[in-house]
Each structure stands twice: as C-alpha cells, then as structure tokens.
Point group: C2
Chain length 131, copies 2
DNA sequence: TCCGCACTTTACGTTAACGTCAACTTCAAT
DNA sequence: ATTGAAGTTGACGTTAACGTAAAGTGCGGA
C-alpha cells in the first residue's frame, strides 16, 4: 500500500492530513520535487518520505528552512567534496545537540505535568470532602 | 544569585538571551505580569520562571498561545471548580500524548542522523582511498 | 455534449512573533 | 548642568507558513 511507486497530491494530502496548498508550498520551497504529467504533479515515494520528514520536523519545532538544509546535506553526501562532507558531519553534531536539549526540555515538562496533575487531584479530593 | 526577589527587564534579557522587545511582547500577550515602579517594570521570580517555561515551550515547538493556556490552567488549579479541574486533567493528558509523539519523533531523527553520519564517513573513506 | 470533479496557476490576505525606529522620561555619574 | 545609559510607549515593518478566492485545464461518465 505504501510501497507504491507514485502518488497524487490528494493521496498524500489525505495520508498525512495536510492541505494540497501546503504540499504545493513545500514544492515551491524546494522540499519536494514532483515530476509532471502535463501539468499535474506526480510524487515519488522519495517525495513521500520527504513529506513525512518535513511534517516530523514541524512537530519538533523545525522551520522549513532547517529541514531543507538537512535535505540538501543528505543529497550532497553522495557527491560532496571532503570539505563538504566534514561540514555535513558538523551539522549532524549540531542536530544531535539540539535533540539532547529537546530531550531535556521534555523531561522537565514531564516533571511539571506530574506535579500539576498531583495538585489537581489534591484539589479535587478537598472539594469532594467539603461537600 | 537566581533566588533573588526581583529582576529588571535587561537582567532577564541577558540571562535568557532574548531581547527586551520580546519580554515586553510576552507581557502584552499575558504570559508575564510584572509590577511597576513608576513606569519601570519589576519582574518577580515567578515571572522569571514563566519566562523560562515560555522559552522552553518555544524550543519544543509550542506557540505562545499554547503556553498561555498551560499557565492559566496552572493558575486555576487552586481556585477552580470540579469541572475545571477535570478539564485541566484532560489537558495534561493531551500534553503527555504530545510529548510521547515528540519522543518518538526524536528517536526517529536520531536513527536518521546515525545513518547519515555513517554514510558520510564511508564517502570520506572512499575519497581518501582514491587519492 | 455537458457536468462535475480533481487539478492547476496566480495573486492577494492572514496570523504569529517579533524587529525597528521615533520620541520621550528618569536616574546616576561626570 | 549635561550627558549617557536604561527604561518607556506607540506605531509601522517583516518573515514564515500557509489560507483563500479567481479563473482556467483535462477527463471520465450520464
């Protein structure tokens, strides 16, 4: 089902619950590169993966520009010069640092949610006792 | 040092590396509630905590409106009715689900970074062998 | 043949989250 | 007394990430 070779714009829109407008916008921004049959877009499974990665990036708070940067690094890996490859490794390291920061942020947030939930339950218990 | 009672706008700006403009904007948006000495803002340590939470939220991809929602829930916990408290618990659950999603996204991203780094190193090795 | 649906481009509108002046006031220091 | 640093309030500008409306193309079915 998902190893199909090509996809229409509305198929992808439904699968990932985004508007066709967004998908066209992502193409304009250079994140997707569909081919054309006449004027209608034909998306490859590579495009489908990239759309998935783009949306994942959004959930993680990445801008489209940041995601595009990742994509271009990815693409240059095969053809790049030594200097480019070393720069790519640096970018990878920076991403890892970001992820560590995010994991820390999530852990902190979880602690706060725990505290908050406990206080909610206490307040509820007191309310019910007072009735 | 950080258990001081009050802070000026520029102290907070420096500590968290944001502009004073942003801090004033957060006040306008109802995220911070400094008192005034004449017209000069005085931030409490509670404001300082909220600023920290606001910035953490940003790193996690939350909008200011979402963060404000969390704050108001937090505030209502002490005084809220039973219905409000139950709704607050639901919001907490939704947040937890979001965090689970983000943890999954991060794990996926880490796998991709691993793969990408490996391919970079392979490409580098081949380049150096060919020289 | 005409209808309707999916798709297209073009272009202007919108919201969030600030940035950037401009034109002050206040206060401490020279 | 003046100057400079830090603070203030408007008000308009900007960027990202789309929304939305207008006007047209292409195509399979009744």
């Amino acid at each position: 089902m998902s190893d199909k070779k090509t996809f229409s714009i509305s198929e992808l829109a439904k699968e990932f619950d985004v508007t066709t407008r967004s998908i066209r916008f992502y193409e304009d921004e250079g994140l997707l590169h569909p081919t054309r049959n006449g004027q209608t877009r034909i998306f490859s499974s590579k495009d489908r993966v990239r759309l998935k990665l783009t949306l994942r990036g959004k959930r993680m708070g990445f801008s489209l520009a940041e995601t595009r940067e990742l994509f271009s690094l990815w693409d240059e890996t095969a053809t790049g010069s030594e200097k480019q490859l070393l720069m790519a490794l640096e970018v990878v390291e920076r991403r890892r640092a970001q992820l560590e920061q995010q994991k820390h942020d999530i852990a902190m947030m979880e602690i706060e949610l725990d505290n908050h939930e406990a206080r909610c339950r206490e307040a509820l218990a007191e309310l019910r006792q007072a009735s």
